[in-house]
């Protein structure tokens, strides 16, 4: 029987009681308010001039202006930073997810010496306080640069490698969970059909784990997208990412609140749109995916 979990027409197996419907309405409305209030503040502040933004808060701004949306490109090279962020985040995500898929497949499908050690070690890297290994990592990058000529320090490549490992532990863990839930008979059958282990992985396991992979990709992307501490030390003006670049609206003289908000919204629109698209993909991946 094909999985039809996400078919919109699917009726609920049982009529939902009123208590459930009301709980849903109340809880989701409150959550919506909680989530959207800061977004509204961003939007309304981004349409005010600086004096108004610095004054008392008003729900309904008077004297709207689109000036901040014009100024943001001049105050800070926003487009450039945006491009850097996209390059770094997308590459880090792609590599991280691929590496994680391999590792998770190994952990999920094979029993080998050192399996436990590997999972525990990888997981434990999540506990490393970033501030502890920031400086050593910087030194290692500089030394690699000096001895091999590969510029990792201050380059996008360095950031990509760094960020891919930031999301790796959780991605592996998450994917091991997903892969475990996919029946082994499926890839065994594929192997009997003549697929090698990689064939089984990419023909059977990966398609069946699409929702998990999408979730993990989103996570890896956001990890790279929002990172501040490492980016502040390991980038220069030509490789600076948005997460750090947005801080430049707070200058020696002033904090351009309205421009920070406008810039934040502008750079977030593509990301939110991406989420929307992926959401559909998440649904599609399930309905068209493997048979359970």
């Amino acid at each position: 029987m094909p999985r039809t979990l996400r078919t919109p027409a699917q009726p609920s197996p049982m009529a939902q009681p009123r208590s459930f419907v009301w709980t849903r309405r109340v809880v989701l409305t409150l959550l919506l308010l909680f989530v959207l209030t800061p977004v509204y503040v961003m939007l309304s502040s981004s349409l005010k001039n600086l004096q108004d933004v610095q004054g008392s808060f008003q729900w309904i701004p008077h004297g709207l202006t689109v000036r901040p949306y014009i100024d943001i490109w001049k105050t800070v090279p926003l487009a450039h930073y945006f491009l850097n962020s996209v390059i770094v985040s997308v590459s880090a995500t792609a590599f991280s997810v691929i590496v994680a898929i391999f590792a998770a497949y190994g952990v999920s499908r094979y029993r080998f010496a050192g399996r436990k050690v590997f999972t525990v070690t990888v997981l434990s890297t999540q506990m490393f306080p970033g501030i502890l290994f920031l400086l050593p990592l910087y030194l290692i990058f500089v030394n690699i640069g000096n001895s091999t000529g590969i510029t990792l320090n201050g380059s996008r490549l360095g950031l990509i490698i760094t960020y891919l490992t930031f999301s790796l532990p959780f991605s592996i863990w998450m994917l091991v969970g997903y892969f475990d839930s996919i029946p082994r008979d499926l890839d065994e059958a594929a192997k009997v059909d003549g697929c090698g282990p990689f064939g089984a992985l990419f023909r059977v396991v990966v398609p069946a784990a699409i929702p998990g992979i999408v979730a993990v990709s989103v996570y890896a992307f956001m990890t790279a997208w929002g990172e501040v501490l490492f980016a502040s030390v390991m980038t220069n003006s030509s490789t600076r990412t948005l997460a750090v670049g947005l801080r430049e609206y707070a200058t020696q003289n002033d904090v351009y609140w309205n421009q920070v908000m406008a810039a934040s919204l502008v750079v977030s629109v593509p990301v939110v749109a991406g989420f929307l698209l992926l959401q559909r993909y998440l649904v599609a991946g399930l309905t068209a995916g493997a048979v359970k």
């Binding site: 691929i98 910087y138 030390v233 801080r247 020696q252 003289n253 002033d254 904090v255």
Partner: protein
């Protein structure tokens, strides 16, 4: 399943290649290492490229770039030395310097806050400016002595050269003072009395930046100095808890706690809201360093406010009691590891030359530390004249000790927490101030 198998295989192949690609690109990239020519022969300076890290002085990093680029072009034209400019925000600058110091890989020339001079000097990462180096840029006595004193520990060759100077002044709103029939205060007592008169109907006498550790330190330093007290003894040991230092901090916090001439809300200010409050008329006075550009940016015209020296304990005070400001400013340093020392020195010479000093300080609203440039008409506006006189007559450098940053962090935070107490209505007493400073001092490293 059948239809997707080709694409699956393709995906698998792509994934593998991509995974391998990581190592392949890592091996193939970065062949532009030109061996770092360490040539200091003046004749061959032409064609060298130096890197310059500039601090944020203007309204934005981009604004700084626009201000500096034409000047750097002039330098390149005159000497043939190219300058690679990077403007770095204050949030990142110290971390970037730290990373550069640790790795030995950094810029050739960089700007530093002058309060960092001694700390950075202690690391040995900056080139010491001995008399030969100073001679190369026209001599030490071209610079104001106060500015030189804020360029490194006493008795050592300065770690940097003064570039922009600033000083604290008391900014007051002319109209509010006239309406209240007041003249700018000369003593603290007058300031508090005036402040109380001006604190009515949503307006306040004074604005302070209570959550900004550096601001807190600067005022605590001056207020202690006026009592003849220092925060470090001659051996560099912390002396935070002397009665004079406790009294100084208490006096500052009392503007909110007891005198109530500053709004409680000021306790959480850390993003220059003080200037906003002053420029919008919410506060009648503020003590700030070279604020003309910022005030203007907030829409207050230069003739709407006046600047006088920060008050002293008594009128016409002399000696330490007459100190009204720290020596604020930006210094320019040469990175010890530079491979282009001569080019770097040539660049410093250019930036501290009289014409450049006039242009740069004129644009940024700061004062030229180069004496010759200060006499220029551009710096004879009423407010700059006051600040220039403060700088040369009644300013003292912050303690030039390696542990200055600990001092700034620990005492700055202690004052911030005291302000928070005051804002929450908790009593701020000599004992509570002393307890806070004692805790700060106990966390200072022994040195």
């Amino acid at each position: 399943m059948r239809t997707s198998s080709t694409s699956s295989r393709l995906l698998a192949a792509t994934a593998l290649v991509a995974a391998l690609g990581l190592t392949v690109t890592a091996c193939g990239g970065g062949s532009d290492d030109n061996g770092g020519s360490s040539n200091n022969d003046p004749a061959s300076l032409k064609g060298q490229t130096i890197t310059y890290w500039a601090s944020n002085q203007g309204t934005s990093l981009d604004n700084d770039k626009q201000v500096l680029t034409p000047e750097l072009n002039k330098f390149t034209q005159a000497t043939g030395i190219k300058v690679k400019l990077e403007v770095i925000g204050w949030a990142d600058l110290l971390n970037r310097i730290l990373a550069a110091t640790t790795s030995g890989q950094g810029p050739d020339v960089l700007n530093i806050g002058n309060t960092w001079s001694a700390s950075l000097q202690a690391t040995g990462a900056l080139m010491p400016w001995d008399s030969a180096a100073f001679t190369a840029i026209g001599g030490k006595d071209r610079f104001a002595p106060a500015a030189i004193a804020a360029a490194g520990a006493a008795g050592k060759d300065p770690a940097a050269v003064p570039l922009y100077s600033m000083a604290y002044g008391l900014y007051y709103n002319k109209k509010m003072f006239a309406d209240a029939g007041l003249t700018p205060p000369k003593t603290w007592e007058e300031l508090v009395t005036d402040g109380k008169k001006l604190t009515t109907g949503g307006h306040y006498g004074l604005a302070v930046e209570g959550s900004n550790g550096a601001e807190n330190i600067h005022h605590a330093f001056v207020l202690a100095k006026q009592r003849g007290s220092d925060w470090f003894d001659s051996s560099g040991k912390a002396t935070f808890t002397t009665p004079a230092n406790v009294a100084a901090v208490k006096q500052y916090v009392d503007f909110i706690a007891n005198d109530k001439i500053a709004a409680k809300g000021d306790a959480e200010y850390s993003q220059n809201q003080t200037i906003t409050d002053f420029a919008t008329g919410k506060a009648a006075m503020m003590m700030w360093q070279s604020a003309a550009t910022s005030i203007k940016a907030h829409g207050m015209k230069p003739d709407e406010y006046g600047v006088v020296p920060v008050p002293t304990p008594t009128a016409n005070a002399t000696g330490d009691a007459a100190i009204t400001s720290m020596v604020a400013g930006i210094n320019m340093a040469v990175f010890q590891n530079t491979k282009h020392k001569a080019a770097a020195e040539a660049f410093v010479k250019f930036m501290t030359s009289t014409p450049e000093q006039k242009i740069l300080n004129g644009t940024y609203g700061s004062l030229p530390p180069v004496k010759e440039a200060q006499s220029d008409a551009a710096f004879q506006t009423p407010d700059l004249k006051v600040l220039a006189s403060v700088l040369s007559n009644s300013a003292a450098p912050l303690p030039q000790v390696p542990n200055e940053s600990q001092f700034e962090t620990l005492v700055g935070t202690a004052v911030k927490d005291l302000f928070a107490d005051a804002a929450a209505g908790k009593p701020v007493t000599t004992d509570s101030v002393k307890a806070a400073l004692t805790k700060a001092q106990q966390q200072m490293p022994a040195s």
